[in-house]
Subunit: 259 residues, 2 copies
């Protein structure tokens, strides 16, 4: 009943959270130096290894540097968000003080096309549930989302009300968790459906995010193409020598069907 979770938060995450707060409260920098690992280990009464785990989190988020020989330096109060917020439009919207809405525009079962088969790693004869959803921020259309779900997941999603605000949160209650996602960001032109629903003109430019999400076991959960009205959102990525989660991808001109 109480907030006592089944599995308590690991010590190194608690420490990372405290340090993150200290940093965003400008206790050190920017440009300031963190205490040494040894000093932190003493302060928190843990081993140096635990401190290093905590600092690793901050480093991957781009909050601090680290190099041999000198103390860690505060880089910036970076705009860090939880994975859960990146993964859920509704959570993100709430975190910035907007009211998220969602409306299913169309929904139906289809046999998977080659792209869907590759992304969802399913057989040629498998079916997918395709859902088109309009996403709104405080009443204004912000994004149009076209998602394909594999059979098992589609059977759940299919039952949701058309105005479900957060599919992600519903799926979590059903025991479905997203653990990994790969995003491809580029530009697209509004097709007639985009234009009608987002309230722009056909051929207007949109920011496009294609996303493939998988569960903790590595099983693909969804393959989605989201189109954002320009001016409503930007994507921020941090990378470093320590981790390079972002890559450029070359696009060769492709021939598309006339639709």
């Amino acid at each position: 009943m109480r907030g006592d979770p089944v599995t308590r938060e690991p010590r190194y995450r608690q420490i990372a959270e405290e340090l993150r707060h200290a940093i965003t409260e400008h206790a050190y920098g920017p440009g300031g130096k963190l205490p040494s690992e040894g000093a932190l280990a003493e302060r928190y009464e843990v081993s140096r290894g635990t401190i290093r785990q905590a600092l690793m989190l901050l480093r991957h988020d781009g909050l601090v540097t680290s190099r041999r020989g000198t103390r860690r330096v505060v880089l910036d109060d970076a705009p860090v968000q939880e994975f859960a917020q990146m993964q859920s439009f509704a959570r993100w919207a709430r975190s910035i003080g907007e009211t998220p809405e969602g409306r299913v525009i169309r929904q139906g079962w289809h046999s998977a096309d080659p792209d869907e088969r590759r992304q969802l790693r399913i057989d040629a004869d498998a079916r997918v549930l395709r859902v088109v959803r309009l996403r709104l921020l405080s009443g204004r259309p912000a994004m149009l989302e076209r998602t394909a779900y594999p059979e098992a997941l589609g059977a759940i999603v299919e039952t949701l009300p058309a105005d479900t605000v957060s599919v992600t949160e519903f799926l979590e209650q059903a025991g479905v968790f997203v653990a990994d996602a790969e995003h491809t960001i580029d530009l697209a032109r509004a097709d007639p459906q985009d234009a009608a629903l987002l309230g722009c003109a056909v051929e207007d430019p949109l920011l496009r995010e294609r996303r493939r999400s998988t569960d903790p076991a590595g099983v693909p959960l969804e393959w989605s193409e989201d189109r954002y009205l320009p001016g409503s959102v930007a994507f921020v990525v941090h990378n470093s020598l320590a981790s390079t989660p972002m890559t450029r991808q070359h696009m060769v001109p492709v021939v598309r069907d006339s639709g």
Copy 2:
């Protein structure tokens, strides 16, 4: 025979590299299971901790999952690149088999504007070197880059020939290394200069990447705005419960404030 260079590659990185190769050669998956940490520790004759460091690298790159209770599962042969390739247009171009070119369009010293002062963390009276560079892929204009360098770095960049292919590689030879970068990706409209140099029309949509790079000590090195012709490039980002390097950023509609 220990003829190793000054600093040898750490064991965990060697192991990660071997495993990465095995994965991309489809020795396990996709969907396959990796050997347990204990088995790998025995095979490579290292402690379990070292194996875990290696696996952590693969996990952050989105190559494998990891959860308690089961062996790691191969996710995909992900489009992983080195940080160095993400950071350098020329290196990236070569890696995809294209010939990179660069041309300085304009270059000059200015007093830093508020944006540059904040991004480069410099004083109000400091000067910056502003450089406008056109980047080409195999002869075709692909991107226009507007960069601001702080005084010390500008003094070096200023001396480069106008057709320098890789500024990054030159700076490395001068002992300047990029260790961290933050990227903001959204959409922009071509201004007259963009249009003239990229060969598009004014107001045409462009994919915009703003970037702030820092050195290993956390000192800002450059603040840049790159505008890509659509269709030439996409950005790919991997994130997970383990690390969330990407965030959405809300862009507030420009509202005229009435004093």
